[in-house]
Symmetry: C3
Subunit: 397 residues, 3 copies
Amino acid sequence: MCYFLFIKDYFLGFWDYETPKVMVVKNKKLGVIYRGVQFLVITYFIWYVFISQKAYQDSETRPESSVYTKMKGTALQGDHILDMVEYVRPSEGGDVISTILRREVTHNQRQGTCAEHFTVPSANCSKDADCTSREVNFDGNGQRTGRCVPYYNQTFKTCEIQTWCPIEDYAAIWEPALTEAINFTVYIKNAIHFPKFKVLRGNIKPNKRNGQKYLNKCHYNEKEHPYCPIFRLGYIAEQAREKFSELCRTGGVIGVFINWKCDLDLDPSECTPTYSFRRLDLRKNLPSSGYNFRFAKYYSKDGEEFRTLIKAFGIRLDVIVHGHAGRFSIIPTIINTVTAMTSVGICSIICDWIMLTFIDKNDIYSDRKFDDLLTVPTEFTISYGSNHSDLSEGVAL
Amino acid sequence: MCYFLFIKDYFLGFWDYETPKVMVVKNKKLGVIYRGVQFLVITYFIWYVFISQKAYQDSETRPESSVYTKMKGTALQGDHILDMVEYVRPSEGGDVISTILRREVTHNQRQGTCAEHFTVPSANCSKDADCTSREVNFDGNGQRTGRCVPYYNQTFKTCEIQTWCPIEDYAAIWEPALTEAINFTVYIKNAIHFPKFKVLRGNIKPNKRNGQKYLNKCHYNEKEHPYCPIFRLGYIAEQAREKFSELCRTGGVIGVFINWKCDLDLDPSECTPTYSFRRLDLRKNLPSSGYNFRFAKYYSKDGEEFRTLIKAFGIRLDVIVHGHAGRFSIIPTIINTVTAMTSVGICSIICDWIMLTFIDKNDIYSDRKFDDLLTVPTEFTISYGSNHSDLSEGVAL
Amino acid sequence: MCYFLFIKDYFLGFWDYETPKVMVVKNKKLGVIYRGVQFLVITYFIWYVFISQKAYQDSETRPESSVYTKMKGTALQGDHILDMVEYVRPSEGGDVISTILRREVTHNQRQGTCAEHFTVPSANCSKDADCTSREVNFDGNGQRTGRCVPYYNQTFKTCEIQTWCPIEDYAAIWEPALTEAINFTVYIKNAIHFPKFKVLRGNIKPNKRNGQKYLNKCHYNEKEHPYCPIFRLGYIAEQAREKFSELCRTGGVIGVFINWKCDLDLDPSECTPTYSFRRLDLRKNLPSSGYNFRFAKYYSKDGEEFRTLIKAFGIRLDVIVHGHAGRFSIIPTIINTVTAMTSVGICSIICDWIMLTFIDKNDIYSDRKFDDLLTVPTEFTISYGSNHSDLSEGVAL
C-alpha cells in the first residue's frame, strides 16, 4: 500500500517497498470461483469497455455542423405553375425547411366590415342588440361593430365584425394537393467539424469522374446511391413510414437525421454519414396533429392595401445532425486500464466472503488470515522491549 | 490480490486463491473511527449516488425534439385590425417565433433623393460645398448627392442623399402599442424522442373526454391546467417577471423552457414536461436592450416600386427543450456498486494513518503490521535452501 | 479491508479494526522503482487532473443562450440604394442571418407560356411533335404545352412551357457584387445563462463612461476592441481566411463562434467571451460550393400577379455559442481525490510484478509474502482444536 508514504518515512526508510502479505489457499472450489469471477470481470472490460465502447479513445460528440438545404421541382396547380420560390419557406435554406403541399387560399382580403362566421359562439343574431359593439370574441375573427347583417348571400344573419374581409372561413378556396410534390427533391449539404480533432467532413463525396453531373441526376437511396445528397420527398415519407397522401392532407414534421460515427483511427474516408427519417410530430389521432401555417402576400391598388391569405399544409423537414468521433489517446487508455485492474479487486471481496462463510467450517482460513491483536495496556508495554518476540506471539494466539 | 495471475501460475497452482493477510486490532477508539468513516462513505453512495443521482440508471439527455408554434388573437390598431398573419414572424411556426407589439411605420418610401436627417454627423449644411458628393456616412441613411437642400418643410438645410425617401427618422409614424396582445395566445406543440430508450412523448395529453374542444378553450396555468399547451402572452411575461407594458415599449426575448425529466422505471405517463419562462436578453439599463427588427412590404404602381418600412418592437419567444431520461440498467449499477466498494477502501487509509501516528505509541501495531525483510546478500542465499525456516525468522526479527 | 463487515461481526467484534499485513522489502532498486511510479501517478493527478482539467470543480456545459443579430450599412447598386431591409434575410435577427452580396434579378415574371431554355435536355425542337404535351422535365422550368416555339428573339426553336415567364435562365440580369458590403457591420448580442450556477452573462460590457455612444462607433478587433460586439463583414471574412471578393461571387456560410470559458472561482467579470470565425461549407472545388437562395417579391397590377425573382448569393452567418463554466464543489473534489489515491495502488501491482519476476531470484520474498495453506482434510480438522498453534505451523511450512 502506497499511502503510508507520508507517515512512515521517518521511522522506516523512504526507499523501502511495502507489499501486502498474502495467504494462498489451495482449495480447488474456491480457486475455480475466483478465476471464474476474474474471467467475467476481465471479459467485461476487454469486450464491452475496450472493444464495444472503445474506451481507449478520446471522443467528441456534438460537432459544429452547418446545414444548407435547397428544394427543386415544379408542380401544376390548375393553370398555375408553382416553383420552389412559391412553395418553399423560408427561402434562406437553413436546417428547417417547409414545403407547401396543399393550400387554402383566400383572395382579395381587404380591411373592412363583414359578417362573422356562423360557427363562432354567439355570432348568430336577429337584430343589432344581439351584437355587443367593440366586443372581441377570442374564437372570432375580429371586433364586432354592433350591427347584425346578413351572412354573405344567405338568408340568416350574423354579427358584423371589423376585419380582413371576406373572412377566411367563408371565402377560402381549397386547392387540391400537390401530388406531384412526391417527386420534388431536397438537396441537403452538411459539413461538420470536430474542433478537438480538427477533422472536417462533408456529406458530398468529391467525385472527380462525374462530379456536378452526378449531383444533378442522382437521388439518394441507401443501397444504390448512399453518397448522393439529394432526397425525393416521396422517399423521405416512405422511410418515415408515412403515406404521402396523408401528409398532403394534414401536413407533418419529418426529422432528417444525419448520423456521423467516425472512428478516426481508421482512414478518414470511412467517416461517412448515414441518414434516417422519422416523423417528429405526434399523431395517433391526437388533437391538432399535422403541420400548417398561414401567411399572406400583400398588394396595393390605388393606395389601398389588399392581400391574399394562404393557409398552407405541408412537410417541414428538420435536419438534425448527430456526430461522434473517437481517436486513440493515451490518457483514457491508461485510466480505463487502471479502472479495469482495480475492478478485478472485486473478485477478492466475493471470494473472501464465500471462503469465510461457506467453506471455512473450522476457522482454519480465518485464523490464518486474521492476526488478532489486543489493545496492549500501558503497564504491559513497559516490559515489551526486552521480550518482543514472545509477547507478540502471546498476543496473537 | 488478483494481479499475480500472470506471473505466479507457473510456480504456484493456477487454481489457488490468494487473499491478503489481515491484522485485527481490538481497539475501540480506532474501531469507532473506522466504522464512522465507513458509515459516511456508504451513506454518500446509497443516498447521494444511488438515490439522489440514480446511478443505477442508464441515462440519456438531449432528446430529439420537435417544436411547432402557432399564435392566435386579433387586435385593433386604430381602424386597422391586425391578425396573426401580420404580427407573427416568421410564419412557419418553428421554435423561434416573434410577435410584434409596437410598430414604427414609414409609408410610401420610394427610391429617390431627399434631405438627410439633421442628427447625422456633418449633415447640416448651408451651401452645396458643405456636402461631399458620393460620400456615404456610416451613420447616415444613404449616399450624398452633393447638394444642400431644405430639411423637408423646415427652414434649415441638410445634405441631400440618395435613398428610400422619405427617410425613416423623419417620416416614421409611431403607432401605439398593441396592449390587447396581452391576451394573445401561443400554442406550443412539443414532441420528444429518446432514441436510446425508444420513448416518444408529447406535451399534449390525449384526452378522449373533451379533446379538441379542451384545446380550443384552455389556457396554461401551472395549477389549474398543467396539460394545456396554450399560453397567454400575459402569463408568459408575468412568469418571466417582466412588465408587459415595458415589453411593448422596448421589446424583449423570452425563453420558454420545456423540461422533461423522465424516470422510465415508473409509468411512462409520469413523464410529463414542466414549463418555465425567463427573459433571455440582458437588461439592467444596458445599452441596446430589447428586441426590434425592421422589414418592409413591397408594392408596385405603374412599374415603380414603393414600400412600407416597418420597425417592429416585440416579443421573441425562444422555445428551448431540455430532456433527461433514465431507466434501470445492469451495467451502470454494477460499475457504481464496484466503485462504491472500492471507495470504502479509503477508510483503511485514514484509519491506518490514525493508528500508526496517534495510537501506536509503542510500535506494537506497526511491528505486527510490517514484516521487515532485508535484502539478502548473494553468498547468504546459497545456504538458504537447507535452513529455510530459520533464515526467514532471522531476517524478520 | 472493509468488506468483511457483513460476515465477520458475529464472531469478531464489530468495533475491531482490520488492516492488511504488510511486508517491507528493504531493496533500494525496488524502492526507487516504487517511488518513481508513485511520483508519476501523483504528478499526473495533481498536474493533469486537478490543475489542467480542474477536477475539483463542478462544471456545466451547454448554457442557455440567446442570440440577437442586426446588420447595418447601405450600398449603392447602380442608381438603386440598398439598405439592410433589402439585403438581410430573415429580418427577425436570430442566430442565423444572411446578407445578400450579389443578385441575379429576373423582373416582371408572369404566369404564362414561353420557350424553354435551350440547355434543358430534349428542349430543342423543330416541330410541335418534338414536344410532348403535359410532360414535366425534372431539370426544366415547367410543364410543356406541346408546341414548338422560337426561342425568344433567336432563330432556333425550343419547346414551349407553362411557367413564370420569361424564364430565369434567359432573362436574369446579373447585378455586380455589393463590394461596399465589406464595410457592413453586424451587431451580435449574446446572453448566456448557466442554470446550475445561476450565472447570467452577456457579451456587451456595461460601460458607464461612454455606453451607447461607444456601441455606435466601435468595430470589433481582438486587440483594440475586444468588448465591442459589432463586426465588420470584411473582418469576419479575413478572420475566416476567405477572400471577400470570392465570397461575393459564390456566397458562403461562415460560423461565428462565441466561446465562453468561465472559471467562477475567479471574479465573474473574468468570464468574457472570445470570438472565432470559420467557413462552414466545404470548398476545395467541390461541386455546389457556396451559398445562394432564391426568393421573389410579388406585385399585382389590374388583378394580375407578377413577381421579381431574385437569386441571391451571400454570406450566411451562423452564430454558434459554446460555453463551459466550473466552480469549486466538494463532491467532485472528494471523488477525484479518492480516485487518485486508489489509482496509486497501481504502483504495487507493477512493483510486485517486478519484485517477483526479476529481483526475487531465491524466492525469499515470495516465501514471506505468500503464506501457503493446504486444504485441510475433514478427519484432520477433528483434532484441530486441541493443537491449534502447531497445526497451523505445520500447514504453513
